[in-house]
C-alpha cells in the first residue's frame, strides 16, 4: 500500500505519485491539448509505394481547398537545404522526398490549413505521380552483389551501411576450434514498434517580432532536440525554446527528430503563425522509429560439463531506408556487445552489419537500452539450446556459469566493466519462490499424460545509464545529465532536471531523492522537466538512464546545497563547521543533539542571515558525468500451458525477480516492471511488423499490430534482491527497461521447453498460435 508524500525520509518508500492528481482529473497537458491563438494544422501526404521515382507533384487542387495556407514539397525544402536532415546514427534522412521515395508511408508533401479537417481534405487532393522501382525488404537480399542500390545519394554504392565488431576474434576462433561442445542457432528478433498510446506531434510557434521559436513537442530529449533544431534550422539556440509537455508514453519512440517536426517548423517560420502537427496511429506505426529487426546467428563453445568458453555472434541489422537508429555516436549497434550476459565467458566475438531496406527507419526503441533486448534474448535463448544439447537442466547450466558475486567489478570479454551483481542469490530466490523443482515434477507427470507444459528461464544482465563521457555522446554531446535545485526562503524546493519523464514518475522519485538528501518530504520538492528555457541541459530519458544519470546529479546537487547549509547552520548555532553533523533530518551540534536546526530554518537564514562574506541564497547545479553504466539484473521464470487443439499458449505464471540496487520507490518500480513485462509478453506472442514483397507494411495500425489488452495480459508476480551500484551516489541502478529486456527469452524458452518432446529447438517470435499448431500438427498431436 502506498503512503502519502508528507513523510520525512522519503527514500525507499512507496509514496503516492505527485503527478496523479492532474491526470486523474483530466488536467494533464499533453501536446494535442495545447491550442494557441490562430494556430494552423498540418497534415502529411505519404507515399503509397515502398520504392519509386517521383515523376511529378501537383498541388493545384489541394490549394483550392478553403483554409489552406501553405503546401510544402521536397523541392521547397531543398531550396532551404532542409530536404534532408542528419540522424543520430551519422546518416541523413529525407524530410520530404524529392526525386524518390524509399519506404511506404514516407513523407512526401506537407499541407497546412486552418482546421484539422481542411488539412486532411487538401492532403487527399495532392496528386503525386510515381514510377515504381524494385523493392528490397529482405536484408540478406539487400547484401547480394546484384541487389539494386537503394541509397544512390551515398558515395558507397551498396546497401551495406556499416560493419561493427567487439571482442577478440582470433582467440574466440581458437577456442571454437578446440571446443568439445558447440551449439549454433539462427535467431530473429522481429521488427516491432513501441506504440506509445499518445502518438508523436508538435506545435511550432515562430514569432517574427522576437525571432523566437517555441517548439512544443512530444520529446524524450528536449535539450538535444533544441540543439539539433538549431543546427538544422540555422536559428540561434537561445532563440529556440523546446517544451516537452506531459508525454503520453514514450518507450523510445519519442527520441528521434521526425520529418513532421521539421515541416511544422518550416511552416511556422514562413507563416509566422503556430502550426500543429499530430500524427495518426497509422502514421506512428508505419513511419516512426521501429524496434529490433536483428537477424542473429549465435554460437556457444563449451566443455563437456557445460562450462561456457566462448561466444560468437554474427548479426544482420535491418535499419530501413535511412539509418536513424537512436544510438550514442560510437555505438552503431548500441550496446549489443553485452551479449555475453550474466555468464563468465573467456572470450567472445560479436559482429553486426547494418543494412538498408525499403522500410521505415529506426531500430533503437521500445525499452531496448540500445540493443540490449536483442543481446539478452540471444544469450538467454542460446543458453537453453546449450542446456538441451548437454542434457542439462537450464537452471543448472546457468548456476554453473554465472559471474560470481566476488568477481565484480567484472571485466567482460567485450569490454564492459559490470558494476555489481549477485546472480545466484537472485536466481535462487526466483527458483524457490516459483517452486521450480515441483514444477519440473509436475511437468514430467504431464508429459507422461501427453500434456504440454513448459518452464522458461531468463537470467539477464542489463546495461543502463549511458553514459561516461569518454565513450558516450549523442551527436557529439557527452551523455551526462543534470539537476538544478533551488531552496526557497520557507524551505520549499523547486528542482529541475535534464531528463524528461513520460510516465515513469520522476516528479515523485526525484522529489524523494532530493527530500531525503535535504531532510525534507517529497511534498516539499516540486520537480520540473522538459522546458529547455528553465531546466538544466541534459540528454533526456531513454535507455533507463534517468536514475543512473540525473538521479546521481540530483543527489550530488542536493549534497552541494547541504554543504553550504552546514556552514549556515554552524553560523546559526554559533559553532564551527566541523562541530556540525547531519542526522538525516537536521543539522545538530556534535555531542549536543538537542541543539539543532532544520533545513527550513537554514533556508530562511540563507536569505535573511548568512555569515559575513557568504553569497545569499541556497541553490546549486550539478552536471553529473557517470563513471560507469549501471548493470541491473534479473531472474525471470515463465510457466506456460499449451492447448493441443489450438496451439494457444497460456502463461500460467510469470515471476520477475529484479535487482536494480537501492530502490527509490518500490511502488513505482513495480509499475515499471508490470508495464515492461506486458510489452515483453506482446513481443513474444503478438507483435510483428511484416512487409510483403512489394514493401507494403502489413501491420500499420492497431487492428493488425497487436497491443495487449487486459484480457491478453497475464498476472505478474514480482520480487527483488538489492545489490547496490557501488559507483552511484545513492547506489541505485536503472530498471525501467529490464522487464522488456529480460522477459521475451523467458516466454520463448518456456514454449520451446513445452515442445521439447517434438524435438523443437527454436521458434522465432512472435509465437502466434498458428505457429505452435503447425508444429503440433506435424507431430500428429493437434487435436
Amino acid at each position: 500500500m502506498a503512503i502519502n508524500q508528507t513523510e520525512l525520509r522519503p527514500m525507499g518508500k512507496s509514496i503516492h505519485r505527485k503527478e496523479d492528481p492532474r491526470f486523474i482529473r483530466g488536467q494533464g497537458k499533453y501536446l494535442d491539448d495545447i491550442v494557441l491563438p490562430n494556430m494552423l494544422y498540418m497534415s502529411i501526404v505519404r507515399s503509397p509505394y515502398a520504392h519509386a521515382k517521383i515523376k511529378s507533384i501537383n498541388t493545384e487542387a489541394a490549394k483550392q481547398v478553403p483554409g489552406v495556407k501553405l503546401i510544402i514539397t521536397g523541392e521547397d525544402l531543398a531550396k532551404m537545404n532542409l530536404a534532408w536532415m542528419p540522424t543520430m546514427n551519422g546518416d541523413v534522412q529525407m524530410v520530404l522526398a524529392t526525386n524518390k521515395v524509399l519506404f511506404q508511408y514516407q513523407e512526401v508533401v506537407a499541407v497546412v490549413a486552418e482546421t484539422r479537417g481542411a488539412a486532411v481534405d487538401a492532403a487527399q487532393l495532392v496528386e503525386v505521380e510515381y514510377e515504381a522501382l524494385p523493392v528490397i525488404v529482405d536484408p540478406f537480399r539487400a547484401l547480394q552483389p546484384d541487389a539494386p542500390v537503394l541509397r544512390d545519394d551515398r558515395e558507397k554504392k551498396s546497401n551495406h551501411i556499416w560493419h561493427w565488431e567487439a571482442g577478440d576474434q582470433e582467440s574466440t576462433e581458437e577456442i571454437f576450434k578446440n571446443a568439445p561442445v558447440v551449439v549454433s542457432q539462427d535467431v530473429r528478433f522481429q521488427r516491432v514498434h513501441p506504440s506509445p498510446l499518445e502518438p508523436c506531434g508538435c506545435i511550432a510557434d515562430y514569432k517574427k517580432g522576437t525571432g523566437r521559436l517555441t517548439w512544443y513537442v512530444t520529446s524524450q530529449a528536449p535539450h538535444a532536440h533544441r540543439t539539433i533544431l538549431a543546427m538544422i534550422s540555422g536559428l540561434p539556440e537561445h532563440k529556440i525554446q523546446v517544451i516537452s509537455p506531459d508525454v503520453g508514453g514514450g518507450f523510445g519512440n519519442k527520441v528521434p527528430v521526425y520529418p513532421g517536426y521539421v515541416c511544422a517548423l518550416v511552416a511556422s517560420i514562413q507563416l509566422g503563425i503556430p502550426v500543429k502537427w499530430v500524427e495518426t496511429r497509422t502514421e506512428n506505426i508505419a513511419s516512426t522509429g521501429f524496434a529490433r529487426d536483428y537477424h542473429m546467428t549465435s554460437e556457444i563453445a563449451a566443455d563437456e560439463n557445460g562450462k561456457v568458453l566462448a561466444l560468437r555472434v554474427k548479426t544482420i541489422a535491418d535499419h530501413g531506408a535511412f539509418d536513424a537508429a537512436a544510438d550514442p555516436t560510437k555505438f552503431p549497434a548500441g550496446l549489443f556487445s553485452i551479449v555475453t550476459g550474466s555468464y563468465d565467458f573467456k572470450q567472445a566475438f560479436v559482429e553486426v552489419d547494418g543494412v538498408y531496406t525499403n522500410k521505415a527507419p529506426g531500430g533503437v526503441a521500445y525499452r531496448c537500452s540500445f540493443r540490449v533486448t536483442e543481446a539478452a534474448y540471444l544469450i538467454e535463448r542460446t543458453m537453453d539450446i546449450l542446456a538441451r544439447k548437454l542434457g542439462m537442466d537450464p537452471a543448472e547450466l546457468r548456476l554453473l556459469n554465472f559471474i560470481r558475486k566476488d568477481q565484480f567489478p567484472y571485466q567482460s570479454p567485450t569490454g564492459w566493466t559490470y558494476d555489481s551483481g549477485d546472480y545466484e542469490k537472485t536466481f535462487r530466490l526466483a527458483l524457490e519462490k516459483i517452486g521450480y523443482h515441483e514444477l519440473r515434477k509436475e511437468q514430467a507427470e504431464k508429459r507422461a499424460r501427453g500434456e504440454l507444459m513448459g518452464i522458461g528461464i531468463s537470467t539477464f544482465t542489463e546495461i543502463v545509464g549511458a553514459g561516461p563521457s569518454h565513450s558516450f555522446d549523442i551527436m557529439g554531446i557527452k551523455m551526462f545529465d543534470s539537476a538544478e535545485i533551488r531552496v526557497h526562503p520557507t524551505g520549499k524546493v523547486i528542482a529541475r532536471l535534464g531528463v524528461r519523464h513520460q510516465g515513469q514518475g520522476h516528479e515523485t522519485t526525484f522529489a524523494q531523492i532530493i527530500g531525503e538528501e535535504l531532510g525534507l518530504t517529497a511534498d516539499d520538492v516540486l520537480i520540473e522537466e522538459g522546458d529547455t528555457d528553465t531546466a538544466p541541459y541534459g540528454l533526456g530519458t531513454y535507455a533507463s538512464r534517468s536514475t543512473p544519470t540525473a538521479g546521481g546529479a540530483a543527489a550530488l546537487c542536493a549534497r552541494r546545497i547541504r554543504d553550504k547549509a552546514r556552514k549556515i547552520a554552524a553560523h546559526l548555532l554559533e559553532v564551527g563547521d566541523e562541530d556540525i553533523s547531519w542526522n538525516g533530518e537536521s543539522f545538530e551540534v556534535k555531542g549536543t543533539p538537542s541543539r539543532k536546526v532544520t533545513m527550513g530554518e537554514v533556508a530562511l537564514a540563507a536569505y535573511t542571515n548568512v555569515p559575513e562574506g557568504m553569497e545569499p541564497g541556497l541553490e546549486a547545479t550539478y552536471y553529473y558525468d557517470p563513471p560507469n553504466l549501471t548493470f541491473p539484473h534479473g531472474a525471470y521464470i515463465a510457466v506456460v500451458d499449451i492447448d493441443k487443439g489450438t496451439g494457444v499458449v497460456k502463461v500460467r505464471r510469470f515471476l520477475a525477480v529484479d535487482d536494480c540496487g537501492n530502490v527509490i520507490n518500490p511502488m513505482i518500480v513495480e509499475g515499471q516492471i508490470h508495464g515492461g513485462l506486458t510489452e515483453g509478453f506482446a513481443i513474444a506472442f503478438m507483435q510483428d511488423i511484416p512487409f510483403d514483397e512489394d514493401g507494403n507494411c502489413l501491420a500499420p495500425n492497431w487492428m493488425d499490430y497487436l497491443v495487449p489488452t487486459s484480457l491478453d495480459t497475464p498476472n505478474w508476480e514480482t520480487d527483488r534482491t538489492i545489490t547496490p551500484s557501488p559507483h552511484h551516489p545513492i547506489g541505485a541502478k536503472g530498471v525501467g527497461e529490464s522487464p522488456n529486456v529480460g522477459s521475451p527469452a523467458a516466454f520463448v524458452n518456456a514454449v520451446v521447453d513445452a515442445l521439447e518432446p517434438f524435438g523443437v529447438e527454436h521458434i522465432d517470435m512472435p509465437i502466434f498460435p498458428w505457429k505452435v499448431w503447425e508444429i503440433l500438427r506435424q507431430n500428429g498431436v493437434a487435436e
Binding site: M1, A2, N4, Q5, T6, H16, R17, K18, E19, D20, P21, R22, F23, I24, R25, G26, Q27, G28, K29, Y30, D32, D33, V35, R116, G117, S195, P196, L197, E198, D246, V247, G248, G249, F251, T280, R281, G503, G505, D523, M667, I668, E670, G671, Q672, I673, H674, G675, L677, T678, E679, N701, W702, M703, V707, T709, S710, L711, T713, N715, W716
Partner: protein
C-alpha cells in the same frame, strides 16, 4: 449543424460540422481535454466517455449524434471538491503512469461498477478490455477498480459528510 448537448451537467449549444467526431467536439469545442485520442481504428478506448450513462468510444460517434444527449467526461467526476472513488483508487493503487489512458479507463470503469459493484478480477479484465494501457500492465488498474467498488459501497453506507482519507499533495 446546431446541436445541444449536456456535458457534465452543463448544457452546450454548438455549431458543428456533421463529420466532427464527438472526441474532437469535446476536446476542441468544449476544451475538455481529459479524453484522448490514441488510435484511428477504435481499438484503444482512450476517448471513452459516458453517453447517457453508457461507456462509448467518442472517436467513433459523431458530435451530431450526441444532440440532445447527456455526456459525462472525466472532468465531471469530482463532486464538491471530492474526488470520485475511482480517481482516489487509481491514485492509491498506482493505476496510472503516463496518464494518457487514465481518463478513458476511469470512465469505462465507472460504467462497469454501475453494472457490477464488486467485479472479480476476470470480470474487470473483461470489462476494461476495450481500453488499452501501454504503461501499467493492467495489474494495478484492476486493483484500483476493485478497490473503488468497495469505496463506493462504503460511502453509500456512511453519512454524506464523512470523507475518505485522500493522499496529500498538490
Amino acid at each position: 449543424m446546431q446541436i445541444s448537448v449536456t456535458v457534465n451537467g452543463r448544457v452546450y449549444e454548438s455549431d458543428v460540422e456533421p463529420r466532427t467526431l464527438l472526441i474532437y467536439y469535446i476536446r476542441e469545442h468544449l476544451r475538455l481535454t481529459g479524453a484522448h485520442v490514441g488510435c484511428d481504428t477504435t481499438s484503444c478506448g482512450a476517448c471513452t466517455v459516458l453517453l447517457n450513462g453508457k461507456a462509448v468510444k467518442s472517436c467513433t460517434v459523431l458530435a451530431v449524434q450526441a444532440n440532445g444527449q447527456e455526456i459525462m467526461t472525466v472532468e465531471g467526476l469530482e463532486r464538491d471538491g471530492e474526488l470520485h472513488p475511482l480517481q482516489k483508487a487509481f491514485w492509491e493503487e498506482h493505476g496510472l503512469q503516463c496518464g494518457y489512458c487514465t481518463p478513458g479507463m476511469i470512465m469505462t470503469a465507472c460504467e462497469l461498477l454501475e453494472r457490477n459493484p464488486f467485479p472479480t478480477e476476470e470480470e474487470v479484465r473483461k470489462g476494461i478490455s476495450g481500453n488499452v494501457c501501454r504503461c501499467t500492465g493492467y495489474v494495478n488498474i484492476i486493483k484500483a477498480i476493485q478497490s473503488a467498488g468497495h469505496m463506493i459501497a462504503q460511502q453509500d453506507k456512511e453519512p454524506k459528510n464523512q470523507s475518505e482519507v485522500v493522499p496529500s499533495g498538490n
